[in-house]
Structures are given as C-alpha cells and as structure tokens.
Symmetry: D4
Subunit: 235 residues, 8 copies
C-alpha cells in the first residue's frame, strides 16, 4: 500500500458516511485492510443497527460487534435479516455474516489464568476468528497449578502468537513469555478484589514482565489483543 | 520446535551456567531462538564481563548489552578482545560482534515524538538490528507539527512493524495506529515534567489508544519494543 | 469595571438572596457579566425551582441549568410558567428563556473524538449558546481515522476558540492544538474503561499536550469549557 | 487563514528543516502565527544554537528559549552574535532579539501565591512579552493574607486575561476566578512538600475550582500559560 | 485525670460490656469525659438498639448515633421508649435524650462552601451540640462569591473554633484560616466529580493549606470535626 | 515430600480433571497437603456444584467453599446430598463434610478491630477450622479502647499464630505485633470511608508496621490469612 | 476582635511592606495575634534577613524562622545583631529574640514514634515554645514497644494538647487518641521506605484513625502542628 | 509465656534504658524471645554504638544491625571491641558476636528472581541466621527462565519456610507458592524501572497472588521477611 499526493486529496474527499451521531469509516477496509469494528458499549441498539447497515451497504461481508447484550444482538440480526451469526453471551462479542477462511502464518493461542478470565479471552478469540485466524483456547491454566500449563507445552511452543489473559497478579504472561519464542500479547483483566484495584495489579505486572517478547493492551481489552494478534499473524 | 518428555528432563539437567551471582541461560538461544541479553543497569563491569565471557564460550557470536556507560563498554570490549563493536552513548546500548544479516518480513520503523525520546528509540533500534532486522529511523515527528509525520507516510505504510516512541501525552502512537495496517508497538517515555509523573501520562495514553493494533511496553523500555518487533518481523 | 472602596462596602451589604439552603448570588451578573448558573446535580427539583425563581425576580432573562433530568426540567418549566425552553436530554443541560443574540469575536467550534463524548460536548455547546456565542459542532472526528478531522480543516482554522472533547487517550486536543492558531480548551471525558481510570488518562494526556495553546478543565466539565470559551470569545 | 487542497500538498512538501536530531518547524509562524519556541531542557547548548540559527535564517526576528542556564544562554548569544537579549536567571527564560511592540486587547496580569512561585510566573510573563503583550506582575498575593490581593482589585478587574500561579493548595486561582470577569489561566506549581506530591494538590485544586472561567495547564508550565494567554489576548 | 497503677488493674478488670458482636466501652465517659458514640453505618437496627440500651443502662443520658436512616431511628426510639429526639434526615445524625446545656469557651462556627456540603456540616454541628457546645451555621459561603463570606466576618472573628466544610477545591479552609485567629478544623467532602476523585482534591488542598492554624479530618467526617472542635472548645 | 524426574512426568500426565470452564486440581491434596478450595465469587451455582462433585469423587472428605450466598449453599448441599454443613451467612464461607480433628502446634487467634471486620475474620476462622486448627476469636478489640485488647493478653501471648483483622488505620496489627512473640498475619479490610480508599489505608499501614513479625495478605482476604496461619501452625 | 466596615478599608490600605520578592504581612500580629513566621526553605539568606529586618522594624520581639541551615542562621543573626537565639540543627528551626513567657491553659506534649521522627517533633516543639507554650517532649515511644508509652500515661492524661509525630504506619496517633481526653494533632512523617511512599502510609493512617479527637496536618509539618496546638492552648 | 497483673506493673516499671534520643527496649528478649534489632538507616554511628553498647551491657550475645555502611560497621566493631563479626557489604547487614546454633523445624530457603534482588535477599538470610536458623540461598531463579527454578524443586519441596524475593512483576512468589506446601513470605523489591513505580508492581502482584499460602512484607524489607520466617520456623 502506498500514499501518493492524490491519495491524500481522495482521503480528504470521501472517506466516511456521516450519520449525525457517528462518522462511519467505510474507507477503513481499504486503508487498513480491516473494516471498522462496532464497539457496542454505550450505543443504543438503533445506533448499532444503523452503523451495521452502513457497513453492509459499503460492501462488508463480515461485521464484528463487541460488548452487546442478547437483546441488542437479536434486534440487529433481525434488522439486517442476516443468516450467519456467532454470538458469545459471556463477552457480548458478535460476528454477523460468515467467518472468513483462516489465513495467516499459524495458530493464535488464547490462554487464561482462571475461569473468570474467560469472557475477556472469548472477546479476543472471536475477534481473531472474525479476522480470519485459526484460534486455540487454553483456559484455566494459571500458575497456582503450573502443571496444568505444562500439559500444553506443545501448543504453546508451536503457536505463531499467544494471547495471555490473566487477572490478579497476572504472572501467566511472564511464565509463558519465558517459555516460548513467539510474540505474547498480555491482557490484564479486572478479575480480583482489594489491592487488585480493578486490574491495576495485573496491568503493572505485565508491563514489568521479566520475560522479553511481551507487550500489553488495556485492562479487559480482549478485542485489542485479538486484533493485534491477527495483524501479527498476517505480517 | 516441540517439547517431548525427554526435553523436560534435559531442561532440568543442564540449561545454565551458575556464576554465583547469576545463572546464565546459555540454553536460551536453543529454546527461544535468541541468546540471553545482558541488562547492564545495576551490574558491575566485572559481572558484565564474566557473563559476556560465558555467552561467548557457549558459542554466541553477537552479544547485546543494554544500559552501560562508556567506561564499562571499554572494559568489556578490552576484556573480551573483540573486534566489532557498536555502541550508542545516548542509550548505553552495545552490540559486541558483527551484526547478523538482516532477515524477517520487512522493515521495522522506529519513530519518535521529539528529540528527547531519541535515546529510548536508539535502544529499540539497536536491539532490532542486533536481532537481524532492517531498521528505519523517523525522529522528531510528533503531533505538535503533524505535517512532519505525513511527510513519511510512505515509510509508515510499507513498514512490517512500527515502534512509536513518545513522552508527554504520547499521542503519536494513536495517530500512527490510525493510519497504518501493521502492528504498532508503543513505548511511553519519561520525557516531560509535572503531571507527566515520570511517564505515567504517556503510558496511560497509549494503553487507552482509540486506534486498534497498538500494544504497549514499559516506560522507557526500548529494548522490549525492539525485541517484540523482531519477533513479529520473524513470525 | 472598577472597584472603589465604596464598592467593597456595597459588596458587603447586599450581594445575595439567602434561601437558607443556598445564598443566591444575584449580584454576579453585575460583577462578572454573567448571571449565576444553577448546577443541578445533587439539588432537589424544589430547590432548583426556588433558585431559578430568585434569579427571574432579580431580572435574569436567560437561565442556564446543568445536569437535570427531564422530570426536574418539566417541574421547573411548569413552576416558572416559562415559554422558551431548550433542553438536551443526553447532557441534562437546560436553557430557560430566549437564547441571547450571538456576540463575540467569532465562532466556537466544539469537536469530539467519538460518539460517546457527545453529552459532554452538548453541555459545552449549550452553555456557549446560552452565553451568546455562535457554535459549530464537529462530532466523532477522533484520531483513529484522522482523515475525518482533516475534512473540517477550514472550520478549525477559522474558529475563534475550539473546545476539544475526548476520552480514552485524549489525543484529539494535541492534534488540533498543533494545527490551529486559536486557543484550545480541552475537556477530558470519562469515556473508556480499564486503565482509563474514569478519565484520568485523557486528563493527564491533555495536561501534557506537546502542542502549545491548550488549557484543560475538569473531567466531563463541558459547562466549564463552554463558559471559558465564551469569556475568551468576548475578551 | 484557510487550508485549500493545495495547502495540504505544500504542507507535505517543505514545512521544516531537518537537523538530524530535530525537525525544525520553520513553517509554524505561517501556520500558527507564532514561530517555534525552543524548549531548552534536555538539549545540549550546541543543539540549541543550531536550532536558533535555523530559525534566524528562516527570518524569525524574536526567538524565545525556555529553561536554559546562564552558560547556555551565553553560548547561544555569542554564537548568534545577537545584540538584544532578555534573560531571567530564575526561570531560565530567554528572549533573543528585540521584544515585539505590545498588541492585543489589553493587559495580561500574572499573579503568584508566594515568593517561591516567581520563577514559574516569570516564564509566563516573559513568554507573553515575547509574543507582544502588555504584562503586569502581582507577586506574593496568596490567600493566607487575602488583604494583599484585594489591594490590587483594580488591576485584576481591568485585565484582559489573568495567569494565576500557585503551589500548595492553589486556592489563588479560585479566589481570583470568583472576583473577575475575564478568563483565568491557572498554573499549579510544585512548590510545597509532603502531601503536595510535587504539585498534584495544586493541580487537582485548580481543576476542581468552584469558580467558572478557570482553565489549567501542566504543573510549573509557565510557558504554556503565557502562550495561551497571548492567544486569548489576540483573539 | 491521672492513671495510678491501680487504675491499670481496674482498666483491665471491667471496662466494657461484651455483646458478642461488640464490646461496648461503657467506661469511656469516665476515661475520656464523653460517652461512646454509635457509628451507625454497617450495623443492623437490632445491633444499634442493643448498644444504645447498654449505654442507657450504664447511665448515659445523651446518646449520639451517626449515619442511620429514618427507619432505624424510629426503631431505636421506639425500642428505648425515649422522649427527646433530635434527628437530621440529610446526615442521618441522631441525638437521643435532651441536649446538654452549652458549655465551653465560646461558639463553634460551622461553615460550608456550597449547598451540597450541608449534610456533612450537619453531622458536625449536631455532634458539637450533643457534646454541649453553642453552634452557629454559615452555609453556602464558598470562594466563588467571596463577598458572601465577608458578610459574616464578625461571626468568624469571634468564634472559638471554626469547622470549614468544603468539597471541590476546598479553598474555603485556607481563606478562613488566613482571616481568623482561632483553630480551624477542615473537613474535605466528596462533593464534586471527575478529578475530584471522591474528595481527594479537597483533602490534599486542605492538608497543603498556606494558612497556619488549619488541621484536617477524613473526607466527609463531620463527626470527627465536631468532636475535635468540642474538645478544643472545652480545653 | 520430594520431586523425582518421574514426578515431573507424572505431573505432566494426569494432574487434573478438565470440566471445560475449569481444570480442577484434584492432585493438589497430594502435592500441597490441602485439597483445592472453591472460590465461589463469580461462579454460577451449577459450576460450583460440578467442581465440588469432582472433588468428592476424587476422595476429598472436607470441602471449603468461600463467598457464596445462602441460595448457592442450599443448591450445592442438596446436589451433593451431604449431611454435615457449616455455613456463615456474613462471610459466605461454607464447609461441606465434617470438620477435621484439630492438629498443629497450638491455637490460632483471630482478632478484629471492630464489629464491621467480623465477616472477614469469620472467613479466616472457618478456613483455619476446615484445615484442622484450633481457633479462638477476639472481636472488637481495636486500639480506640486499648484496654479491651489488654483484657486478652493471656490469649495473645499463648497463641501459635495470630490473625489481626482491621480496617480504617489498621493499627491493631502493629500493637499486637509489638506485644507477642508468634507470627502475626495482618488482614486489612475495606471497612471505612473517604481517605480509606477501599482498604488502602489499612493495607499501607500494615505493610509499614513498626513491629517485626507481621506479614500481610490482600485487602479482605480472610481466606488467605486462615490458610497461611494453618500452614504455619502445621510447620 | 471585631471587623467593622472601617476595618476593611484599613485592611485595604496599609497591611504589608512590599519587598518586591515578598509582601511582608506586618499586620498579621494585629489581625491574628501572631506575627508572620518565615518559612526558610527556598529563600536565599539575603531574602530571609531582609524579611526578618522588616518584622523587627515593625516591632516584633520574637521571630520564628523554620527550615534554615546553620550558615543562614549565622548570617541572619549577624545581620540583625541579635543576642538571644535558639537554633535546632536537626530541624533547622530558629527563634530570634527571647522566648515569650509561657501562657495558655496547660502543657503541650510532643510525642514521637521513633528516633528518626525527632526533627519534625523539634520543629513542632520550638514553634510552640516561640508562641508562648509550656512544652514536654516524649520521644521514641512508638507502639512496637507499647510499655514505653504507658510509662508516660500521667503526662499524656494531663496535657492540654498532644502532638503525635510518627512515620511508618503512624499508629501512635490512634493509640494516644484512644487514651486521652484532650485534642490530638497528628503529624505524619516521611520516615520509612517502600510502601511508605514518602509519608503517605502514615498520613492515610492518621486520617482514618478509629480514635475520635484526632486531626491531621501535612506530612513533616511540625510547624503547622505546633502552631495549631498553640492556638488550641490559648482558646 | 503468660502475663499476670504483676507482669503489667513490672512492664510499666523498668522495661527500657533511656538514651535521650532513643528508649532501648532491653526487655524485649524476655518479652518476645528476640533482642531488639538496630535499624541503622538514619542513625549516626555514635548513636548506633551507644545503642549496641546498651544491648551488650544488658546481656545480649548476638546483635543484629541492618543497613549500615562499612565505615559505621568498623566504628562500632572497634568501639565494642568485638571479635566475631559478619558483615555483608551489599545489604549493609551486620551481626556482632557469634551466630547462635541453628534451631527450629527445618531450613529457610531464600530465593531471588534476579541478580539485583540479592542485597534484599542477603538482609533476609543474615537476619534468619542471626536468629538461629539454617538458611539455603537460591539466587537468580526468576520465571524468565523457569527451568532454573525447577532445578531446585527438591530444595523448595523440603523447606520449612520460603522467602521469595523479586522485583519487576514479582511472579516468582506465585510460581513457588503454587508448587510447595510450606508458608511463603514474599518480599517485593524496588528493582525495575518505569511502571514498576519503585516496587509497587511487585508489591501489588504479590498481594494478589493466585497461590494460597503467600503473605507479604514491605518493599525491600528483607529483615522483616527473615524475622517472620524465623518466628515461623520456631513456632
């Protein structure tokens, strides 16, 4: 991809559809290779349907919406009259349209420290699937019983990217980072209480990982991790 | 790469050289594909020389040492009697031995918001070079004069990974993240004063980036960004 | 305006109406050129009506009340028997009486990073309108798709003051601040999650802006930004 | 001022001079009406001289450099062979070349709470003077002896903009903000100790001011306040 | 009052009544001159009645209970079959039994910055009344309209202790502290939003007051301020 | 206990039962001497029953579940058809099966500063009982009336471990730590308000205890304290 | 004392001496009964001498200067040619002129937790002495060996005010507050390390004291405590 | 040990030696079984010698002093004319007199994550040795190369207490806690930079450990961990 001076002018001329409350970036698939994702939190179901409709009209075949409840999902699915729907009730992640064929260098492994981290992990996994990646889930493999993690050494060693999702002290990212030779995207979760401070402990832990090859996204940001992992898997 | 049960036993038997004050992980190049890097801060020059010597004896041809001053560099270079040395006095990053030939998918771009961010950027750039990557530097292209950044749109659009290094409000990472389709590794720096709180403002900014495809490493952690970028460039 | 010793004595003698629960500053329009604004949050509808009544009796023709719900708005409108009412349900901002004619040096532009920042922006816009300013809204022009912002370069370059409203990493303020030559009032919003810490990330970001000419008000303080912008527009 | 499509192309073509370590924005005076200011902290005297030289060559007649020590000042003055120099040793602010004639709507008042706040205030005052404003200083008028402030009510009431500089609890900004009808730019300083947390107490205080018409810049950011005040005074 | 060795033994032998869930300090009136106060938050109405009953039986004639709702108040009043009751619904402060005659050096003034600070101020005022003090209330006299405060200079100058209750930037404590020659007890309140951080801004402000003679209690701790003021008024 | 190479292989082969949403560590009783405890918060009653069932089938005779409400307790008790149940409604701690006979060096004392700290203390006490310890409770003995604590000097001096549970300023841990010669486990609670910051004040207090022999667990972590105390009592 | 309207005019007319860098409040002794105290930190010795001179000329017989080193003390003593000097090298507190005769209700007790808290305690004690109070020092009586404190129960029980100075966990203030019936002024110190965070732990501890009758001043603010204690002792 | 009423009286009569600047707790060995430890930081060498002398005279045969430099050590050793001295220059820990014979249940293992954590670990190890414990050191076994830790599984599994010392993300404590069945005392260190915030990341990590049986002491508090471990080893 390459920007000429003409591109800039074009960029300035027609890059989005103005809905009043939102300027939908229909140009993004061309510019960044991925169409705009609808972040559902804080939007009404009417707004979400209208944005999704705009994306469908601009030619998107697979639409990812994150953090919507079941009622909103039903409203949008009905409104678009769409056949293929993938919806995870824990995370609120939703894919409208068929999943793309898997592409990329290899498999993205999504691992969690505990059971309560699963909703964040599912947001990451579904995002990666919606962007055309092969995904393997390893849930509840935290360091309190490290033998559970070692059971999956083969999966870890052969992944192209690993997403490590953990709350509390977030040690999972460092332990995995010390074992593997692929990039690790760490997702701190707000799982915990007290001096966890809504995910701060896991966040600081992961930022200070003694293992090389670990980078971090925002607390509970499963979507960001899945998106970044997909970019890496398609470099 | 694949771990059999025998691997674990082997792992337990001879993976490191014990120097008393340090257990040098000479096995790391086999396990993770990259030899151990010497983090110089807080180590004496004698300790650094001894660790470097251990790595040389175990067969490493290129040794990366970060955060050492010129005196320590001279002491180690003299002690090892090494010919090829790359040393950046601003960051204290040092490569002993010849740089490996560049490999990987493409170019790693290292961009900074301002002049004061350059030492952190150099640590990232030299790390990436020591790990066999083609590196391009774009310094002082922060958003206070955004036309300077747009001048390099072609470099940004064709990179395989971008490392965005910025202090103060750290907006550079978001602006770049919104323009490109490759992974962006954001490095907050401690450049600034007052409500910057030693890099906290840039760190929080980057973690909350509205652009997808951005992940973050620790404040001033140029090494971590260069290492992660290299892993991505070699996926 | 000028304070003589007699002014001080007068100041001490009759500057407010004491309602028991509040001392209404009916003197403010004389002293500061703007009548007292009723901050609705945490007051009962009876209290708000009583204060509004006091202002009406003291001669105010336009009364601004912020952060009230629809029920309170109806109660006050009914109680005052007022004809002209402007009410925005998202922000809870309400203007009783006719809007003053626009005055001041030029146009105040109110820009937001995303859709969720609109309620804060509306509080700013309505405040500025109630104080007699010409206001132009540019919503959802955040840096994740920076071409949307550039589409409005003409509006930005010709504004007399710009209010930049953004949550998450708040980069919008820096990018606008780097482009224009008028004062920019930045309003961090609490939009976001995780390491956003209820608006702290945007607040620190904006305080550390690398662009000159940016000053900041409290998180979600649309009213404060609109008020300050109006003062500037009328200097 | 107005951006045409041709402007953007021009913007992309020659907007700065590349010095390697810095990209000097020689285009800024055209774009923003004010030439680039050299932030001296963290730059060598050689770098500062080279940047200043570039600005002189591009036609700037008055150059503002902030936060440099006397030695650097002498080095730069000697290197440029400049006649008119204004230098304040407390703040390190320096103006090379003649001060421009005062312009703008009126007077900018710079007030401080205590004696220790004066260096920050001087940075603000000198910045405003370098940008062509009439400046009046009111130092050591903090609320611990509020009669000292009232002594200057006339100066406060007739200012076009007021810069309120205070450390500790920063109450000065609120008290002034409650008295006047012009915009107040509040500058928290790091003056204080203990629970002051390097200026945090004054910063939070000023952001939460109960007075309308107060906006805030970074801790100790006298330059930012002076710059913003000048923009306001020239709206 | 004086502790002999025998006192210690006595202290060890019968200083409280054990209710299982609480050890009621019936000895406190003897030891500290004030009977135990019942902090109602987090206790059931049955527990509160049982503790109050124990205090009544041990001879207390006036019982102060803080932070209870109306239902609990009715339950306890009914259960104790008590005639004289003072209850403030805003703060939840309740006095059972007749108020003691006022004693002490002079008047305790309770001042608030705004209307929303009144519940905290009432807790302070009622506490001081329950401990036998003459109390004068000055509400809504914050620095945004400082003339309202000056109206009451005589009350302030003749107080024996002043309790200054304020949220937001808490400047009221400093301004009063700079005017008077009696001790000022500052009570930060959680009134405000955004960078107020639930009262942190007012707390830090008051701790860093540039005025001498100001000490501080916990956020929203009206009881603590009233209690301390009473001790001072009875020194 | 001793790990041979064969142990590691065994560790890797069958250490847990995979329930999909959880990997139950049925091996833990062998490895750590204590069977897995079910942390109830954030799990459905169906999940808890399934995990408990797995533990029963693997041979556990006493099962500890923390933080479940009464409804969940009834559901699990019914589902397992278990006879002996200990349930504390305040803390939500539940023991299924008979309590083990007390073992260990001596008595574990659980002390609280106030009445509101009791739920956390009960979680600690029940955990210690479920792990076979003799437990003595000393509730509401905080330093505001220190004679209540001295009444129990004999119990404190003869304990083998003491768990000190306190909110607000958490001074109880330091006072006890200065009196006794056994290990003290301090549990900060979130009891308090304002500058307590949800337990932060007690946490920092306890970490900075001037008394030796005090270590600390997470805010409100009664379970962690009871578990650690039991390990110590069985060293 | 009483403010008439004429007082305000007088207040406005001649309340201070303007030294350029400072406005010395020579009127303070009249207004507040105590002459202005010179806070030495951050002032040059020349400035301090000039301010002291102004106070001497305005008739002050006892001058308190805090936080000056020995060199400055000598310079000022020499410059004023003063005979009576009290100087404490640990705290830097200095009294020029004879100490006033002790007045007030009784004795002010200054107690410290440890040896390292003594400098802060001396600042408090010397301030109180300079303001005419009888002072008794109880140093190193912290709760790690609580019997040392009980040795002085008589001194504590008979004080009119107690200043409790402590770092680390600051429990001393609560323990004393629970024992006595006079006001306690708590001074957190920055003594400690790690999670002490420069005095934050002691500060939060003291603000959350479970004992009534405790108020708090800034970290290390011995002066503020001594001043407030003197006001209380003279109510 | 048991406190009778007579004990309390005795406690009040002669429990310490008053040196003016310190009250040496010579009674502590009787009361707590361990003599007072001299915390050297912030004390002069003369003060330390005088305290040590007092302890020698009261019969202590082994004296532990922490955090003194070599010069102070020499001064004290010379002043006391003591023969047996153990001094570690990294941590500043010093034992005067012969080490006691080892006692207690078993071995205390001291493990560190990296080389830079060794000074804190040595403070812990020497403290434990001075209190009569058998100590085994495992240094540089952090999770970045977890095979180094597994090499010592036998040492870990047979310890009676483990002290886990780590900076950065502090994951070592959780990994060890998940493997062993003895109590783990976690010591966060200030080793790291950036978002480590002087040890905060490791501290929060350890407090939120997902492994049971882990309690925590202050950042860098090797002494506290060694002391607590000794108490546990002697329960």
């Amino acid at each position: 991809m390459n920007y000429s001076d003409e591109d800039i002018l074009k960029l300035r001329k027609e890059p989005y559809v103005d809905l009043g409350f939102a300027k939908v970036d229909t140009h993004r698939r061309l510019r960044q290779g991925v169409s705009e994702v609808i972040y559902g939190a804080g939007k009404t179901k009417e707004q979400i349907l209208e944005i999704a409709n705009t994306l469908v009209k601009s030619g998107d075949e697979t639409i990812l919406i994150t953090r919507i409840n079941e009622d909103t999902k039903d409203y949008v699915v009905h409104g678009l009259n769409i056949e293929h729907v993938l919806y995870d009730i824990q995370s609120g992640a939703c894919v409208l349209g068929e999943l793309p064929k898997t592409s990329g260098h290899g498999t993205i492994v999504v691992a969690t420290g505990g059971t309560s981290d699963i909703p964040v992990a599912e947001e990451a996994a579904i995002t990666a699937m919606a962007l055309g990646n092969d995904v393997k889930r390893l849930y509840d493999v935290g360091v309190a019983g490290i033998h559970r993690l070692f059971h999956y050494l083969d999966d870890l060693m052969t992944a192209s990217v690993i997403i490590a999702v953990a709350g509390m002290e977030g040690a999972l990212a460092s332990v995995i980072g010390g074992l593997v030779s692929c990039p690790v995207i760490a997702v701190p979760t707000s799982v915990g209480y007290g001096a966890n401070f809504q995910g701060l402990s896991a966040l600081l832990s992961m930022l200070n990982s003694c293992a090389s090859g670990v980078s971090v996204v925002n607390i509970d940001n499963g979507f960001g991790a899945g998106y970044q992992a997909s970019l890496i898997n398609h470099v």
